[in-house]
Amino acid sequence: MSDKEIVISVRNLTRNFGERRILNGINLEICQGETLVIMGGSGCGKSTLLRHLIGSMKPDSGEVWMFGQDIAKANEDELDQIRKKFGMLFQSGALFDSMTVGENIALPLREHAKLDEDIISIIIKMKLELVGLRGFENLMPSQLSGGMKKRVGLARALVMDPKIIFYDEPTAGLDPVMTGVVDKLTIDLTRKLNITSVVVTHDMGSVFRIADRIVMLHQGNVLQIGTPDEIKHSKNPIIQQFITGAAEGPISFMQTGDNYLEHLTSKIKE
């Protein structure tokens, strides 16, 4: 990757929520045209990291360089300009319930450009075709399944033809065929159009299909970063447990300890 241009550079990114430190000095460089997968346990801060990359959250300290600017210090006007250049698929889809599917997709277009309605309509349909939802433009989000909403969110993320796309669990809730469709789209966009993709996913099948590099987050830090092969053959027991999905290992979910009884019987704060 060293010969490639770096498009995003994260330096010593730190973020606390109250007393809890979620991101503990993250350093990360993302190259032009690569698909970087971010892995890590539920609640470890993947979505939080993405929110810092797109500037919707500000770090307690550290920098996020993108398009020659420190996003962490950009003001709203500057962020508005930067937002035109990347697309974001939120974990929840984040559609507006009062707008049709088509209006949701067209939203960034109407905000940032003056195009004829006939042209906008063709673009909406082209994007829906990409995500396998031909003919759904006039439905309301409430009439869609979870996986369909996800794909509408993806169509909206793609509508401005961004050079960088952030995906937060793009295939969660999709059936295997649709997962394949979305994976292939990610691969096509990177390989054919040289688009940079940053993908948070728990789907190990997807990870090894799409990733050029994988970064594993653990306890607020980058545990390891490497090619799919390097991660697959990592000697780190945490990574091995993560990719094999073993219930027993260094990542412990069974927090029974000395104070379990005390904990169960203590009062929940009002």
């Binding site: 940032h112 450009a113 195009l115 004829d116 042209i119 673009i123 082209m126 075709e129 033809d161 054919k192």
Partner: protein
Amino acid sequence: MEVKALEENGFSVFQVTGEINISTSPELRKAFEKQSSKKVVVDLEKVTYIDSSGLATLVEMLKKTKAQGGSLGLAGMTDKVKSLFEITKLDKLFSIYSSRAQALTQV
């Protein structure tokens, strides 16, 4: 982006140079609206990039030409531009020719 509208062997030829994007595609659309030939060739040889609004503009041009019983061909696109058509499966909709000369004999 620059659009040159020419008449060649009874064809309307649009020779486009540069990027067809969200701020320039309306110009191509306007240039097309001024012509009325049933045989149209869009020469994309010197086009470096086409975004979705550009693709949508070409789709609309194709539709309008066909609605009048005419035909529209795209000529000379680079590999990069071609992949933009392939990802959206628009390569299946258009007649694509390797050069303007070829398009002018076959459209």
